[in-house]
Symmetry: C2
Subunit: 245 residues, 2 copies
Amino acid sequence: MNLLLLERSELSPSGEALLDDARARHLLDVLGVVPGQLVRVGLLDGPRGQAEVLHADEDTVRLRCAFDPAPPPRPRLDLVLALPRPKVLKRLWAPLAALGVRRVDLVNARRVERCYFDSHAIRPEICRPLLLEGLAQARDTWLPEVRVHRFFRKLVEDELGEGDGEKRLLADPIYPRSAIGALAALAPERRVVLAIGPEGGWDPFERDLLERHGFAGIGLGERTLRSDVAVIGLVAIVHETLRAG
Amino acid sequence: MNLLLLERSELSPSGEALLDDARARHLLDVLGVVPGQLVRVGLLDGPRGQAEVLHADEDTVRLRCAFDPAPPPRPRLDLVLALPRPKVLKRLWAPLAALGVRRVDLVNARRVERCYFDSHAIRPEICRPLLLEGLAQARDTWLPEVRVHRFFRKLVEDELGEGDGEKRLLADPIYPRSAIGALAALAPERRVVLAIGPEGGWDPFERDLLERHGFAGIGLGERTLRSDVAVIGLVAIVHETLRAG
């Protein structure tokens, strides 16, 4: 844990917080905090800052927090992700939050098994702690927004909007172009929406609908990658291209 | 399994192979092959090709193989990797082979725990099947060469050589530069050597020694990533930059 994340409702008006859960255990058992010590804190969806340990006993830690004037920059990337196998999705939550995504739209596609929509991996009680773990790892405070869509066409036609100000990319093995070329010299105020298909790829109808809604095709070359490796690789490449400017 | 990998010693002079192991089980149980059917095959460290199923019974499959005249291009990337925790290393073998590396030099560093060198994860009987799984996934035939070095300085000073014709990169969170910029317009005949430190990074002596041996510093920005995510992200970024050319 590189950043202790707090929610606004946990703070008193004077900026104090009393912890008695896994975060307190981590402070006590792993960091061995004592009164007077400073720890890095972050307010969920808000600024980072520092907290002084006011009191620590066997089970609880009391902190007084002081936050930066402004939150860290919000990630510029939104994902549209054909719902992966539950095992893969569980493995992806923490890395996705750590790499930084603003929103994840999980969506049905022809090559997605319907039963994946009944899985625990899309439930907030499974997904939220893993996302928080990724944020704490990366020292970010912006919790990715997660939405689940059972109808691909409705998402693309009605819910994603016109995409003004966004650069829209569609990842599929059939496209030879690299995301690095597609995003070269993107204006810093523009966000990126990246649509990643299921194992086996989007079907032709899905690619066509995405293309007609402004998504430009990109790929990762000729090697077929496991879908978690492809997702992490693609998200890392997009972020690094934006950062390299 | 997207490619059935065979070793040269398994082929008869006429290009036939008799399989009775996990590959036969996969052909029989997952693909349900019948005589006459064609499957994609690859010769380890050699060309890819096609094989015709000559005979299939309950436990064995006999194939007749025809290979392409030339092997696929060998990956242009070598890794120098501070020996990761065994759990992380086991998770990395298949993705590394799938993304494509020519050689992996596992090396000691100040922030590497000595006991990692006793781990199963560096033994060929653990590492090789996972590398083969990654190759089969990515349809590659070039098995990464794995070497283990207990002495960092000896590796850098005596064994890596002068690095003529190589572009050498050193990944550490302290460097702001991106691999995308560092590799822009690299000549296609040049290989890349990427040195990735342990969790917590290289220590100053190690960075200095690498820099004096021609390694240029790069990073992934301000976010701290879990080391498996950082390795997959960095390797994907290097490959994609080379591919985007």
